[in-house]
């Protein structure tokens, strides 16, 4: 198929600064320097704003992308070093309507073809019986799931869903297909995201170019999904299943958020009575449709013959019973085999009775002796890939290999030829990319997205994800990080804007606005870890103050005070063995700072905080995302090269400030729903536990008055109450008044009473658990117990030893009850354990 865009008038004025490479086709300019159709407006815009404009767009894109904290944004700092990330080029790849029509036709046909192959492989297998494709290419592929032979796409069994096809143009202007991806293809979320970012950077250009909207494609997709649900279910319930690790889930959470579909992980789903349910705050909710972003072969551990962590046991059974539709078909990975390429033209003739419009890259399967000989003779300019058998073989480029490596590869292919294919290496056409050195021509591949409707008609997204190489010309690595581009498909007249989320609500799909249990748990722990970090940070600041300024003239008091504080915080966080093993006092303090594996360290808790927050990404406002990231980044960068304890105080201040910014932002931006309630509940419970814990520790100590006063003062400092205490009591710290303030003062936001009252308010927002009592019923006895303790200590300023002992005991039992409450929340909302029925 050719994409020879006719050249516009030879007026080569706009974009004259852009020079394509000699001998390589460029998509924006002809060899004679004429601008190709569809690129005039872009070049005019570039000319108008010049080099400075180009650089501004680049930095705007980077800024907006980073601010969103999404796909291009490195999720974990340690990942950057190893994995790299995707960046976005502001200049779109343009397609005039006529050119796109050809691509649409070719991609659409390809999608229909692969649907037909899927139906045949998990069905009558004509292709194999008629030897149109060697049986071992299909059956040997790790993604072929033989036991889905009775899960034939059709009626209520889904086919491929949204498929991705990588398309490239070569020098002659012909289109080639490079890769086909079906099993949760990468990039749909990135494409959507690129569109929103570029649109924000170049809004006028976007409007003037009559760029086709992506929303209409999604509207049709939602209709397709609704039609794919099993049975004649009215308003089928849909979820997005994402079992990728956190580091990759930004693209999918963006997509889920954009579409307003609840994103769940496999642990959120459970099969009961042959039906799939979502574990949610409200109990088990039935699910009819799963839009899957998880490897099909890892989906059902019960029917897998390799060990799987996670997955949804019993789900294949539910699919067979037509109780749930999973899109895409779990066995579709086999279609990604490049081993199919040599046979595709004939398969297309057989299954569609049409000639294949977009040819695959010239490919030789080494299982065929003459093809193998050809590959081996031309090895130094071939691309060698595994056909997807049980092998960890990585794609190799012959031209990069040394003589020894080539002979090693030859031996490998000779030993098991049927596991390899050789592919011609294409010379890709280039597109203009904004760089430090201005606009440069870079090799490009475009990932297109499409699906085939129930009527058999393909629907191709008018847009896509273009990927460009990091250097002029050159190849595009699809595996590793690189640069991406938005794809602009033009229409002759402007299209009306369309909101994807609104389309979804207007489709007949139900997107249960319920909070999955896992998400609920992560929200709860986000609150707890944030509060815990804050508490430890104050603790550390107090200890470091002692080191810097000193609290006492007596070094013995000083060191006992430090040791007691350290003991208390380590005991509360079950880290006493760490404390015992730390070789000296400095190392003991260091446990609270940058000891990433020690549960009492700020580093550990920040990491937990960030991990929990990240897995509920879509619940945060942009500003909160920024806050979460900056808390972590500032700690990680700020403490990376700190060795001495006295370097830490300013970093501790900053972390505290950022944590309060995070809490403040949530207060300002979050809807007061379940999510909010859980985050708040976590935070309030943690704060209660910390205050009660430290007070009961203090009361247990039988020490001389001078140390006691010092401890009293420390507790006020740690609970951020020193100023309040002083203005309220006009006195030096005394245990009695401290107890009154920190336990009983309902109007004081740092008091336990205040926390419990708030907790009561937020717990009331949570639904009734099906199997258990509502957690708020546990709260009342806790509050009355607290009141009794406060009453008992009311008129005892210094606190007599006997009162101290009794109060310490009371506080201990209060402490335990709060833990029970937390366990109860976990059981009734997060784990959905069925009650034990003793025989």
């Amino acid at each position: 198929m050719d994409v020879v865009s006719e050249e516009s008038s030879l007026d080569s004025k706009p974009g004259s600064a852009y020079q394509p490479l000699a001998g390589i086709r460029d998509e924006a300019k002809s060899p004679k320097g004429a601008i190709r159709t569809g690129w005039t407006e872009v070049f005019e815009e570039i000319d108008e704003f010049g080099e400075a404009g180009l650089q501004k767009w680049r930095s705007d894109v980077a800024r907006i992308s980073r601010k969103r904290g999404l796909a291009y944004h490195p999720v974990a700092v340690e990942e950057i070093k190893t994995k790299g990330t995707w960046s976005l080029d502001p200049i779109p790849w343009n397609f005039p309507p006529e050119t796109w029509k050809k691509i649409e036709e070719g991609v659409g046909q390809r999608n229909r073809l692969f649907e037909a192959i899927l139906k045949d492989i998990y069905g009558p297998q004509h292709l194999i019986s008629e030897k149109l494709v060697p049986a071992e290419i299909i059956f040997g592929h790790r993604g072929f799931l033989p036991d889905l032979y009775d899960v034939t796409p059709g009626d209520a069994i889904a086919g491929l869903g949204i498929s991705a096809f990588d398309i490239a143009v070569v020098n002659s202007g012909r289109l080639f297909a490079l890769n086909d991806r079906f099993d949760s293809p990468f990039g749909l979320g990135v494409a959507l995201e690129n569109r929103t970012v570029v649109n924000a950077v170049l809004p006028e250009l976007f409007r003037n170019c009559h760029v086709r909207r992506l929303g209409y494609f999604f509207r049709d997709w939602f209709d397709h999904l609704a039609a794919s649900a099993p049975g004649n279910r009215e308003a089928p319930r849909i979820v997005i299943l994402d079992s990728r690790p956190v580091t990759q889930d930004t693209e999918i959470s963006f997509l889920a958020n954009y579409c307003r579909i609840t994103r769940v992980s496999d642990a959120d789903l459970t099969v009961r009575n042959g039906k799939v349910h979502l574990k949610a705050l409200t109990g088990l909710e039935p699910v009819d449709l799963i839009w899957k972003f998880a490897a099909g072969r890892d989906l059902d551990p019960l029917e897998s013959n390799h060990p799987i962590d996670g997955g949804v046991p019993g789900i294949f059974s539910a699919i067979r019973e037509k109780n749930v539709a999973v899109v895409s078909h779990p066995g579709c990975e086999v279609l990604q085999s490049p081993g199919l390429y040599p046979f595709l033209p004939k398969i297309c003739e057989r299954l569609l009775s049409e000639p294949l419009l977009i040819p695959p890259v010239a490919t030789w399967w080494c299982g065929n002796p003459s093809a193998k000989n050809y590959v081996l003779e031309n090895l130094n300019h071939m691309v060698i890939k595994s056909v997807g058998h049980h092998s960890d073989f990585q794609t190799l480029y012959g031209r990069n290999l040394s003589f020894d490596e080539l002979s090693w590869l030859t031996a490998r292919i000779e030993a098991r030829p049927q596991q390899y294919i050789g592919q011609e290496e294409l010379n890709l056409s280039t597109v203009p990319v904004a760089t430090d050195q201005g606009l440069r021509p870079r090799g490009a591949v475009m990932r297109t997205f499409s699906f085939v409707g129930k009527d058999g008609k393909p629907n191709v997204m008018p847009g896509g994800l273009a990927r460009v190489s990091k250097e002029d010309g050159g190849i595009v690595s699809t595996r590793k990080a690189g640069e991406s581009k938005d794809v602009w498909v033009r229409s002759h007249s402007p299209e009306k804007p369309i909101s994807i989320a609104r389309e979804l609500t207007q489709s007949c799909l139900t997107t249960p606005q319920i909070t999955p249990s896992k998400m609920a748990e992560n929200l709860y722990w986000t609150g707890r870890y944030a509060e815990r970090t804050d508490f430890i940070t104050r603790f550390a600041a107090r200890l470091l103050d002692g080191r810097t300024f000193g609290f006492s003239h007596d070094p013995e008091i000083e060191s006992r005070h430090e040791a007691l504080l350290l003991y208390s915080i380590c005991e509360m966080n079950q880290c006493l063995s760490w404390l015992d093993n730390a070789p000296n006092p400095d190392a003991k303090i260091h446990l609270l700072l940058n000891e990433p594996k020690c549960p009492v360290s700020i580093a550990f808790n920040l990491k937990q905080f960030r991990g929990a927050a990240q897995s509920v990404w879509e619940k945060w406002s942009r500003a909160s995302i920024l806050a979460i990231e900056s808390i972590w980044n500032s700690w990680d960068k700020g403490t990376g090269d700190l060795f001495h304890l006295n370097d830490y105080p300013s970093q501790l201040d900053e972390t505290q400030l950022q944590l309060s910014a995070f809490f403040g932002l949530n207060l300002d931006t979050m809807t007061r729903d379940d999510a909010w309630a859980l985050l708040e509940a976590g935070r309030r419970i943690e704060r209660t536990v910390n205050i009660v814990g430290i007070l009961s520790f203090l009361l247990k100590q039988e020490v001389e008055p001078v140390l006691e006063h010092l401890l009293d003062e420390s507790i006020l400092f740690i609970s951020d109450s020193l100023g309040t205490y002083q203005s309220k009591f006009m006195n030096e710290p005394l245990t009695g008044p401290i107890m009154q303030l920190l336990l009983g003062d309902a109007g004081y936001p740092r008091s336990v009473k205040f926390q419990l009252n708030r907790l009561g308010e937020v717990l009331a927002k949570l639904p009734d658990p099906k199997e258990y009592d509502h957690p708020s019923t546990f709260l009342k006895p806790i509050i009355s117990k607290l009141d009794r303790i406060v009453l008992k200590t009311k008129h005892d300023g210094e606190m007599l030893p006997i009162t101290r002992t009794v109060s310490a005991k009371d506080l201990q039992s209060l402490y335990k009850e709060i833990f029970h409450l937390s366990d109860h929340i976990t059981q009734s909302y997060f784990s959905h354990a069925v009650r034990i029925t003793e025989p």
Binding site: A135, G140, R272, N273, L302, P313, S317, H390
Partner: protein, 296 residues
């Protein structure tokens, strides 16, 4: 013709230290109908009673039982009871009339049970293609040797060179260490034989079943001493599928009761369970093969 009738009880019990809220299980316990044996009766009993269950044929034609238990439970017991009758004729090694080098060309697409032959030729996770397997097989590759005779020699070699040692391996032990250490149990020996034969294009499959054990004269047979067993079947066009037991260097006779066959162990694992809950699980399996009748 002489016949012998067996009553077999195969009991699998899972014990948990904690509490299990949900379990999904898949069992390959029902005997195939197309073996050289007559199934008189078969039933599977699960305690506690499953909340949902279904029966289907897998892609190889084995019958699988799926069931799930949803209430919380602390143990799970699956009992398979089988009555089967077998002919007592002594097996004789047939001839394929084909040298192993030319077998591949003569193979048809489907085997007699209409399963695609290629499934029994491709490597699997348990029976991979690898250089160490070719290395192991090399001494058996005598030019022009009959396919079945080659399989028979290989069986004898495995029997002679490998030591049967319970506990030396488990289901996750890779075949590489089985070959390196020359120790294992029946599953391992079957996998070694299958991997070796497939590497030269001889279709072979894994058979799960039971083997009657006979105590020395005068010693009464103890309960639960039998075990599930595994052996191999090898295909050539002239002979069809022929059984070999590398663990005992024996052609399977009337004492072998077949249940299922697959590409490797993982296709026909007798009971596979996924348990959701707390605590650790332990497993107890007992098998009794009892001879109840001999007829002439």
């Amino acid at each position: 013709m002489n016949h012998v009738r067996y009553q077999i009880q195969h009991q699998t019990t899972y014990f948990y230290t904690g509490r299990i809220d949900l379990c999904h299980s898949l069992a390959h316990l029902e005997p195939r109908g197309d073996c050289d044996q007559e199934v008189i009766d078969h039933k599977i009993k699960v305690t506690p009673k499953p909340d949902s269950k279904s029966v289907r044929k897998d892609f190889l034609g084995n019958t699988t039982h799926y069931f799930s238990v949803q209430g919380s439970h602390t143990s799970l017991e699956i009992t398979s009871q089988l009555t089967v009758e077998k002919s007592t004729k002594t097996p004789v090694l047939p001839k394929s009339e084909l040298p192993w080098e030319t077998l591949k060309i003569a193979l048809s697409d489907l085997d007699p049970s209409k399963t695609r032959m290629v499934h029994f030729l491709l490597p699997t996770r348990a029976c991979p293609h690898a250089d160490f397997i070719r290395e192991f097989l090399r001494p058996s590759l005598i030019a022009g040797k009959d396919v079945v005779a080659l399989a028979n020699d290989l069986m004898t070699r495995i029997f002679n060179e490998f030591q049967f040692l319970t506990g030396a391996t488990d289901v996750s032990t890779p075949i590489q260490s089985v070959i390196a250490n020359r120790t294992g149990v029946c599953q391992d020996f079957a996998h070694v034989m299958i991997a070796a034969l497939r590497s030269i294009g001889i279709p072979s499959r894994y058979v799960s079943g039971y083997l009657e054990t006979i105590p020395p004269p005068g010693v009464p047979k103890l309960k639960g001493v039998d075990a599930s067993h595994a052996w191999v079947e090898v295909y050539s066009p002239a002979t069809g599928w022929v059984g070999f037991d590398p663990t005992n260097n024996k052609l399977p006779d009337s004492q072998y009761i077949k249940i299922c066959h697959g590409r490797d162990y993982f296709d026909v694992q007798p009971v596979r369970g996924i348990f959701i809950g707390s605590g650790k699980q332990s497993l107890k399996v007992s098998v009794d093969v009892e001879r109840i009748k001999e007829s002439v």
